[in-house]
Amino acid sequence: MRRQLLITTAVLALSIGSAFAADNSATISQVGATGIVAEQTQTGDTNVANITQNSAMGDGVTVNASQTQAGTGDFADIQQSDSFFNQAVQTQAGGPGNNALITQTGPTSSQNLATQSQDGTGNLAQITQVTESSNNNASQLQTGDGNLAAINQNSVSDSNLAMQDQSGTGNSATVNQNNISFDNTATQVQSGDTNIALINQNDNSEDNIAAQDQDGTGNNATINQNTFSSLNEADQTQAGDTHLATITQSDTSTGNIASQTQDGTSNTADISQTLNSSFNVATQDQSGPNNIASIAQNDGSTNNVADQVQGGTGNNVASIVQNVLSDANTASQIQTGDANTAVIFQDNGALGNTASQMQIGDGNTSSIFQTGAFGSLATVVQN
């Protein structure tokens, strides 16, 4: 009953710019209210829209702040601090040069929702949910070329969700969930060529999930889960040619899972789980010729598992390095086709490592190097 009363007394702020107007500026500031709503609509070029809401509490259903702009060179900004259950939505069509910013900060900000949608080229979208923020949801959708999208959910943030979807060429997407962040999920989907996707979940982060999916040519995907990070999961999927996929789970990181799947030609996949990292699992699956797959589990890394599968007509290279005080690791490689190369290095461990290689085709080369371990096993099958 109290909640209904509060909603009915909510403040509604509405500002609508004139059609095809330019260089307009609209500002809404709301403090300490409950169930507040602010809407801004602008049509034209180089317009500016600002909404500031402090110490506000939404109902989890109503969009508290929304901004809609159509034109070029527009600027939209929503700031919600010390807020609960708030929703912020920004929609921009056109470009280039549109900027959309949403900031939802703590302390004790939670259950917030931020959504950005941009249609056009050369635009920027940024969502910031930081400082003891939890259970927040950030999503960005961009259609066009040369766009930038960034989501920051750092500093004691947990259970946050970040989603980025870009279609076009030359786009860049970044998600940062660092500094004692846990139970976070970051997902990036890019369709087109020469796109860049980056997810950072570092510094005492655990139980995070990072997923990247790219379709096109010449894309670059990177996931970093480093420095006392544990029980994280990183997944990368790329379809097309000349892609680069990189996952780093290093520096006292344990129990992490890294998975890379590439379907196409001349792709490169790289996983690094090093520096006292243990109980990690790395998996790489490539289909097509002229691909390179590499996994490094080095420098005091123990009980790790590395699996590589390369299918297709051949000319692929696979390498697994488990060196320098690395014990009880397992490495396996499977290659089909001709003229493939497979290499496994395992050395300087006190306990035994296991290495296995299977190659099906002609003119293949396999090598296993094991040094200084007890009970190591090496197996090669070529047919």
Partner: protein
């Protein structure tokens, strides 16, 4: 004959299901390891397999090839200060014109070469004491050689087929067949 039958059964179970492929190269290197095990299986033509177990104790190496003109080399090497001991090496080849070589340095090692087909060559070299070699060839025109340097050695050669030569007078050598021409070389030195 019973020995050959048993080895052939194991051989077919391990490598008989492989499809043919060619010109593949496989190498395994295990250095300074204890109780390490290596195995290689290749099928087809002109393949090469090699296993190096250096400065090792209690290691085992197994290489299997089916096809033609394949090569296997197993080297369980060591040094005067750190000999490789108590290792075992086994080679099995089925087909023609295959070459197998086993080299062991140290004491208490076992080496076995098993070849089934024609025109094959097997060679085993052991340096150290309490070592043993077992070599079996079934087919025609095969060549077998073994060299042992040390004390308390054991050597068994078994050849079945035609165009084989029995050097005679050497312990542990048995040859079945008829004809001559292919050399069998056995050298034991203390």
């Amino acid at each position: 004959m019973r020995i050959i039958t048993v080895v052939l059964a194991v051989f077919l179970a391990l490598g008989g299901g492989l499809a043919a492929a060619g010109e593949n190269v496989a190498s395994i290197s295990q250095v300074g390891a204890i109780a390490a095990a290596s195995s290689q299986a290749q099928a087809g033509t002109s393949n090469e397999a090699s296993i190096l177990q250096d400065l090792s104790i209690g290691n085992s190496a197994l290489a299997i090839q089916t096809g033609t003109a394949n090569k296997i080399a197993i080297d369980q090497a060591g040094s005067a200060d750190s000999p490789s001991v108590l290792n075992s090496a086994a080679v099995a080849q089925q087909g023609t014109l295959n070459v197998a070589g086993v080299t062991q340095s140290g004491a208490g090692n076992l080496a076995g070469t098993f070849q089934f087909g024609n025109g094959n060559t097997a060679n085993a070299i052991q340096r150290g004491s309490n070592n043993a070699v077992m070599q079996i060839q079934s087919g025609n025109g095969n060549t077998m050689a073994a060299e042992q340097y040390g004390d308390a050695l054991g050597l068994i050669h078994i050849q079945e087929g035609n165009n084989l030569t029995n050097p005679g007078g050497q312990p542990g050598i048995r040859q079945f067949g008829q004809g001559g021409g292919a050399p069998v070389i056995v050298i034991q030195r203390n």
